[in-house]
């Protein structure tokens, strides 16, 4: 049953892939060519746009919805099927049930074609491992991990993984609001 589901995802993905390549063949970008003597192929659309999101929590689902609205091809991985209900009805991307740190799941997700991998499960260590796998095994250029706690920075800093810490972001934002509203006379944090 699970394999059947997997295959349907794969088929769906291949379909978009074929369509994308087809478009590349037809659409040619003349703006780049001076003199009009030669035509240049547009850069394939797909590799820039395929984003894998690991973890379909509130952040993951929100991000998936936004990216999907912006016509990116998105794949969301979560080991719990029920968490996909957070995706909007208009979500046009793909869903894959499985562990985002499992290599076979990542192969199923066609991670080698991804331009970005975003690890946003609710567990820091899972995000660190998923990000390191994406970076070190699959050499994905853009890897972003959400981490609640930045204590383990020394573990991932050398790998070029971008991290987002909600607490740091929130405090910066609050600080900004305080300054804007004049809540702090001389805010100097």
């Amino acid at each position: 049953m699970f394999a059947a589901v997997d295959n349907s995802y794969r088929r769906a993905y291949h379909k978009t892939l074929i369509q994308a390549n087809h478009m590349v063949d037809i659409i040619m970008d003349r703006d780049f060519c001076e003199g009009g003597s030669s035509v240049r192929l547009m850069k394939p659309k797909k590799p820039d746009d395929y984003v894998i999101i690991i973890g379909c929590g509130r952040l993951g689902a929100n991000l998936a919805n936004t990216l999907s609205e912006n016509d990116k091809s998105v794949l969301v991985v979560d080991k719990d099927k029920s968490s996909f209900r957070k995706l909007a009805p208009s979500f046009g991307g793909m869903q894959l049930e499985g562990d985002g740190t499992d290599l076979s799941v990542l192969y199923d997700a066609q991670i080698t074609n991804a331009s970005a991998v975003i690890a946003v499960t609710n567990y820091d260590n899972t995000n660190i491992m998923a990000a390191q796998i994406a970076k070190e095994i699959f050499h994905i250029d853009t890897v972003i991990a959400r981490l609640y706690d930045q204590d383990c920075e020394c573990v991932y800093q050398e790998f070029g993984i971008d991290t987002i810490c909600p607490a740091v972001l929130s405090s910066k934002e609050i600080d900004k609001l305080l300054k804007d509203t004049g809540g702090l006379g001389r805010a100097a944090i």
Binding site: T101, D102, L103, S104, Y123, D124, N125, T126, I128, M129, A130, Q132, I133, E136, I137, D149, D151, C152, C154, V155
Partner: protein
């Protein structure tokens, strides 16, 4: 100064390992996130126990992991074990890190992340079980000297031809010796007069050519490795010819 070992996570494994390492003279520290398990672990003599999440740097700092000789991550989660080992290695300069993993396919990834030793519990366990289940009659323990000499463990079933025979009656090849007999709680060094009983476990030392022949004489079954080493056979014939001429 005593060599220091830190065990992070795990419970039964940690306890067994701690007892064994302490006996060997190591100074052992255990870190566990479960308070009840910590209380249980603290009953082990000379074991220092810390309560907390081992993937948090401040817990490792409390447990004085800095410059320890070995850190072993034994939690159930691969991601935790990875982060623990990386922290120990990079932040706390532990000399050797060992991680237990459940997913064997990640072994290489773990090595690439700088972990010194990766143990996959499931594969290790499965291979041991397989050895016990399939090689019931015979299991080769050690192959010595370019695998020409073999030490094997042979179990004598009740229907085996060797049962109730004295060893001199067996007519074993000269290249084979029964080194030891394990019978229930007793360990017997065999003599020619020793009688083989059903249920005995024999430690057989033999050349690889005569191993299967000996096992057949003892148990009635052909051993699991029934292949004859052809080049050796030829060599043997040649040598026999040389002796004659």
């Amino acid at each position: 100064m005593k060599r220091r070992v830190v065990l992070i996570g795990g419970f039964n494994k940690t306890r067994t390992l701690a007892v064994s390492l302490i006996k060997k003279g190591y100074k052992v520290t255990a870190i566990n996130s479960d308070m009840d398990k910590c209380a249980e672990l603290a009953k082990v003599n000379e074991l220092d126990v810390f309560n907390g999440d081992g993937s948090k740097p401040f817990i490792l700092e409390d447990a004085n992991v800095y410059n320890a000789n070995i850190a072993i991550a034994l939690t159930d989660r691969d991601d935790d074990n990875l982060v623990i080992c990386e922290l120990c290695k990079k932040k706390f300069k532990v000399k050797k890190t060992v991680a237990l993993i459940t997913d064997q396919r990640k072994t290489e990834f773990f090595y690439r992340m700088g972990i010194d030793d990766v143990v996959c519990a499931i594969t290790t366990l499965a291979s041991v079980i397989e050895q016990h289940a399939i090689m019931d009659e015979m299991s080769t323990l050690i192959a010595v000297g370019g695998s020409q000499l073999k030490i094997a463990q042979v179990r004598i079933g009740s229907a085996a031809p060797a049962v109730n025979k004295k060893i001199w009656e067996l007519n074993l090849p000269n290249e084979v010796i029964i080194g030891f007999i394990s019978r229930g709680d007793k360990n017997i060094v065999p003599r020619g007069e020793t009688r083989i009983m059903s249920g005995d476990i024999l430690i057989l030392i033999s050349t690889s050519r005569h191993e299967n022949q000996a096992i057949k004489q003892l148990t009635g079954n052909v051993g699991a490795t029934a292949s004859v080493d052809m080049p050796l056979n030829i060599l043997e014939r040649e040598m026999a010819g040389q002796v004659k001429t």
